[in-house]
């Protein structure tokens, strides 16, 4: 037995002629928090559904908890908690009823679930909503309930597909805090996101995915080190001038990306670079010096931004 809870090699998924996942390899070990970062359509959800034993692969090898999801789907799913991209709570039932019936789907005894519900409502900060119909909950509350629901069976692996997409910043931060607690408790997390800050905050290790393929893999820090400089200077000269002025600044930095609205200059000291640019006679309308992020990694790897 290996230490890996999930082992995937050469995983391919086609929908008709369309290749949604194109021969990817990765593994996830126990208590690791593992992320998939990529834009819409990258193949993240498709991969998650194959790991979660609810969709069949076209080719490749997949082992989850040492079992093949195609052969032992229900046995694997008994150990997973899944937060799907699209909520599928029962709107006609209350918050606690949703948790209860979900626990029953795992065949758990009613007594166990009832005691678990208190703990989960506390975790999801939904105690006051216990007997309220799900219909009336806000998006953030529904998302927290879906996460709580996924935890009712004390899963060995928690799979989260875009846990915070569509939420406002505050609801998002509450969720991150909850997920961070799980991570601290040693729950193995598998999550997808197209938010680089989410990936940076929650993932020990991640894959950057685009158009069904893996572009890079590593810890957030490693990826930034490998594919970007320490700092970035963002300058704006107005949309007409950006492309025009870019060549003259090429020599001053390690690398540059010219976007329609701004120029990104990669360097180890952004403040210093700005001084140089100013003394060379360029006067950007605005400038921003910041640390490199996974967004820059993605831009470097694909030539496109993550969120469009």
């Amino acid at each position: 037995m290996s230490e890996n809870l999930i082992e995937v090699s050469g995983l391919t998924k086609k929908f008709g002629d369309f290749v949604a996942v194109n021969g990817i390899d990765f593994h996830v070990s126990k208590s690791e928090s593992f992320g998939f970062l990529g834009p819409n359509g990258a193949g993240k959800s498709t991969t998650m559904r194959i790991i979660a034993a609810t969709s069949q692969r076209t080719a490749g090898k997949v082992l989850v908890l040492g079992k093949d999801p195609e052969i032992q789907g229900p046995q694997i799913r008994a150990h997973l908690g899944v937060v799907p991209q699209q909520d599928n709570l029962d709107m006609q039932l209350t918050v606690s009823e949703n948790l209860f019936i979900y626990g029953r789907y795992f065949g758990l005894p009613s007594k166990f679930i009832r005691s678990k519900i208190d703990e989960l409502l506390d975790f999801a900060q939904l105690e006051e909503k216990r007997d309220v119909k799900v219909e009336t909950l806000s998006g953030g509350m529904r998302r927290r309930l879906t996460i709580a629901r996924a935890l009712v069976s004390e899963p060995e692996i928690l799979i989260l597909d875009e846990p915070t997409t569509g939420l406002d910043p505050q609801a998002r931060h509450i969720l991150w805090d909850r997920l961070f607690r799980l991570k601290e408790k040693g729950v193995t997390l598998l999550l997808t996101t197209h938010y680089m800050d989410e990936a940076e905050q929650l993932c020990d290790r991640l894959i950057v995915m685009d158009k069904g393929s893996i572009m890079a893999e590593g810890t957030p820090l490693e990826l930034i080190k490998k594919y970007s400089s320490k700092e970035v200077l963002e300058v704006r000269f107005g949309s007409d001038n950006n492309a025009l002025l870019a060549p003259s600044m090429q020599k001053l930095c390690q690398r540059m990306e010219v976007l329609p609205d701004r120029i990104l200059l990669y360097t180890d000291d952004a403040e210093e670079l700005l001084k140089e640019i100013l003394s060379a006679g360029h006067h950007p309308k605005t400038s921003l010096a910041r640390r490199s992020s996974l967004e820059d990694v993605f831009l470097r790897l694909t030539g496109r931004s993550l969120v469009d």
Partner: protein, 270 residues
């Protein structure tokens, strides 16, 4: 209690937990379900059973149709038709809801539950509702004096059987349906509607021209009615026809469930 022992196994006969959840949802509507279940037969019996019945016995004597009173004649038909309608409602709407409107089936399927478990659970819940409806209906029939031949009770299992047969087929149909508007127009208007009209509920089907009798032959309701009349008051049909009616309904049940299980699983994995 520790989960390491109690959980993380695949539950045996998982469908019962789906059934449990379905009953919980249905219980939210229990008053509406009960009202419909009681009012529907009352209205029918007063208007048609008693009203039309008295007209018929006035014209033809108390052994008006098929050698029995009109109420005795229509009792098995009313039971079977109510069973089929209850079964139909409780498989179609939950299936559309589960796959499309609320996507709950995808949540269930993320647990050890399989497509077949989910289909079975939905079907079993529909059968419980059908049995409840048939039970209440037969009590009301009894109170109207429509259940007083010695074998009247036989209409009850036959009605439930018919509900199961038709429910199974519609469970499959609904699972294949991506566009529910089309389903209601095509299946509802052009199949189910005529089927109910030409099944011989209120008069024998051979009073109809041959062309429309076809709707009766494919209709589970007609087969159930023939069986019901045979069992309750000895309506004259050959042993072969008894077997044909029975096998027709059984085939609907078996094939319906087979395709329902298959399509539930396929659609969830898509």
């Amino acid at each position: 209690m520790s989960l390491t022992q109690s959980a993380r196994k695949v539950p045996i006969f998982g469908a019962r937990y789906i059934l449990e959840a379905r009953l919980r949802t249905m219980s939210k509507w229990v008053w509406i379900i009960l009202a419909v279940t009681i009012l529907n037969p009352l209205l029918y019996l007063v208007s048609i059973g008693v009203g039309v019945g008295s007209l018929i016995s006035h014209n033809l004597g108390s052994h008006g149709i098929d050698g029995v009173s009109y109420l005795t004649f229509i009792a098995p038909a009313l039971l079977a038709s109510s069973a089929i309608q209850a079964a139909q409602d409780e498989v179609i709407f939950p299936t559309f809801q589960g796959f499309k409107w609320g996507r709950m089936f995808y949540g269930m399927n993320a647990t050890p539950q399989t497509g077949s478990d989910i289909a079975s659970g939905v079907f079993l819940a529909a059968m419980l509702r059908t049995t409840l409806g048939v039970g209440i209906y037969s009590i009301i029939l009894y109170l109207f004096g429509a259940m007083n031949s010695p074998h009247s009770y036989m209409a009850i299992p036959i009605a439930i059987f018919a509900g199961a047969a038709f429910g199974a087929v519609l469970l499959a149909f609904a699972a294949y349906t991506e566009n529910e508007d089309k389903f209601f127009t095509i299946v509802g208007r052009f199949i189910i509607g005529p089927m109910f009209l030409f099944s011989g509920t209120f008069y024998p089907i051979n009073a109809l021209p041959l062309v429309v009798r076809f709707f009766g032959w494919i209709s589970p309701l007609w087969h159930a009615i023939e069986l019901g009349r045979f069992a309750t008051y000895g309506h004259h049909i050959s042993a072969t026809m008894v077997a044909v009616h029975f096998i027709y309904l059984l085939a609907m049940l078996v094939f319906g469930l087979f395709f329902a299980f298959r399509q539930y699983s396929k659609r969830l994995a898509k």
